[in-house]
């Protein structure tokens, strides 16, 4: 049985890990300091944005029946209360309630911004209590008329949700609706980052930071490669990047960074076209030319081929 072989193999390989890092505590504390610096900078930015947003709102008569800047266009829900797909975002943690409630929100790591969306039967504000950082109980304005209901949205830094729970991925937020009737909320997480930094893809095979228009990679096909197993190209990109691949002079397809292709946040895995892959053998040295043919940006990187 393969399960038995797996158990034996894993135990055997685990036993090859010998030697403990002599100064692990110091290394961990160094990373903690780095995370703290980034959080402080993020909190400062959110504070500036909130102050700027507050000043703008203070000049407006009444409360706006429009969505805040930076959120995707509604509708987010159907009249029946069902969530709708929002282009460029992954919706999750949908929850329907009336009156004060507790909302469990699952947040993926590394998302820099997320959007809380709400549907309400009557116009009103929704207070999200227990968040961390400045303005610990922000209000979501649910006033945009959509069909038989109203909708609203609030741009939020997911780390503010993360700070209130001992659980790293599932957070709890207390909801206090300011109007009666049924409410629904959900979390929209972008499928792609707005920016990628060179530091995040350090050690990649090729990227737009050094070769914006594309470049050439020479790689060895993994020794255990055997068609029809796909030869995969893993890329990190912002939306609408398209990378045309040519393998030893033969067109091998186009890596497309769109909603349908994204695997993990900003990551796309692309299989080299079958006619080209069929001619490859393990251990073969090949040249892959990459040409950026989509959005003009340096925000892409080829992480791995194998």
């Amino acid at each position: 049985m393969i399960e038995t072989s797996l158990r034996e193999l894993l135990s055997e390989r685990a036993a090859t890990v010998v030697g403990e890092h002599p100064d692990r505590i110091r290394e961990v504390r160094s990373r903690v300091a780095g995370i703290r610096r980034r959080r402080t900078a993020g909190a400062a930015l959110v504070l500036v944005l909130l102050v700027a947003g507050g000043l703008t709102l203070a000049r407006l008569p009444g409360k706006p029946a429009t969505l805040p800047a930076g959120v995707p266009a509604s509708p987010y829900f159907d009249d029946g209360g069902t969530s709708r797909t929002v282009t460029g975002y992954r919706g999750s943690s949908y929850f329907t309630f009336s009156g004060p409630a507790t909302w469990s929100v699952a947040v993926r790591p590394f998302i820099e911004r997320a959007v809380v969306v709400a549907r309400c039967a009557e116009r009103g504000d929704l207070t999200l209590a227990d968040l961390t950082g400045p303005g610990s109980a922000p209000k979501l304005s649910c006033r945009v008329p959509v069909g038989d209901h109203f909708e609203g949205a609030l741009l939020i830094d997911p780390s503010r949700l993360a700070g209130n729970s001992r659980d790293s991925t599932v957070m709890t937020v207390r909801l206090r609706p300011g109007s009666g009737g049924s409410w629904s909320v959900g979390l929209l997480e972008p499928l792609y980052p707005e920016r990628i930094t060179a530091d995040q893809v350090r050690g990649d095979l090729l990227d737009g930071f050094t070769s914006p228009g594309g470049g050439r990679i020479q790689v060895t096909v993994p020794s255990d490669f055997r068609f029809p197993r796909p030869l995969s190209v893993t890329a990190v990109c912002v939306r609408d990047v398209r990378l045309q691949l040519t393998l030893d002079g033969r067109s091998a397809g186009v890596v497309v960074c769109d909603d349908a292709s994204v695997e993990v946040y900003g990551q796309v895995t692309f299989a080299v076209s079958e006619p080209v892959a069929a001619g490859l053998r393990g251990g073969q040295r090949v040249t892959i030319d990459v040409r950026s043919i989509g959005r003009r940006t340096d925000q892409w990187a080829i992480l791995q081929i194998g």
Binding site: A14, H21, R31, F110, V170, G203, G266
Partner: protein, 164 residues
């Protein structure tokens, strides 16, 4: 201020075991170190709020960080000048294990995490689901897919007698 007493002691005593799990997840000694340091740093912030034994929480941070981490290039095994000592085994057995290890490395990250937690850590399906923040049904389907992929692997099935 959160109470973080016991964190240093936990790191000192449990790091070797966690490092072994990190290695099985990443298949690379250097990346395993990196993964463990990152997971421990995340846990440091939550340390004072963890109820009960901290190891399941840390293991969960390790697994979820691995399953979603694209910031690093996850390389295949690196060549090394020093081979770990192994008990004498027939050559074909070692080749079978190497083929299985390579096939394991080709699995999608979440499937590999499920395999490591189920077959190395000996976690139940429910415990694995909790560790990865996914449903028990997803654990079952991911494990089934992983085993099916391993059974389908040409090289492996030839070596292991037709995919048993």
């Amino acid at each position: 201020m959160a109470d973080r007493s016991g964190f240093d002691e936990f790191v000192a005593t449990r790091s070797p075991a966690l490092l072994r799990t990190a290695y099985l997840l990443t298949g690379d000694h250097g990346l395993a170190e990196d993964l463990l340091q990152t997971a421990l740093a995340k846990c440091w912030f939550a340390w004072g709020r963890i109820d009960g034994p901290p190891e399941p929480y840390v293991r969960r941070a390790l697994a979820t960080t691995y399953a979603t981490w694209w910031r690093r290039k996850w390389r295949a095994e690196r060549p090394t000048g020093v081979l770990p000592e192994r008990p004498a085994e027939p050559r074909h057995a070692l080749e079978d294990r190497d083929a299985l290890w390579r096939a394991l490395g080709a699995l999608p990250r979440r499937q590999r995490a499920v395999v490591v937690l189920r077959y190395y850590e000996d976690l139940s399906e429910a415990e694995t689901a909790s560790a990865l923040g996914i449903s028990t049904g997803t654990v079952k389907s991911q494990a089934a897919r992983a085993l099916a992929t391993l059974r389908r692997d040409d090289d492996l099935s030839q070596r292991m007698g037709g995919g048993q």
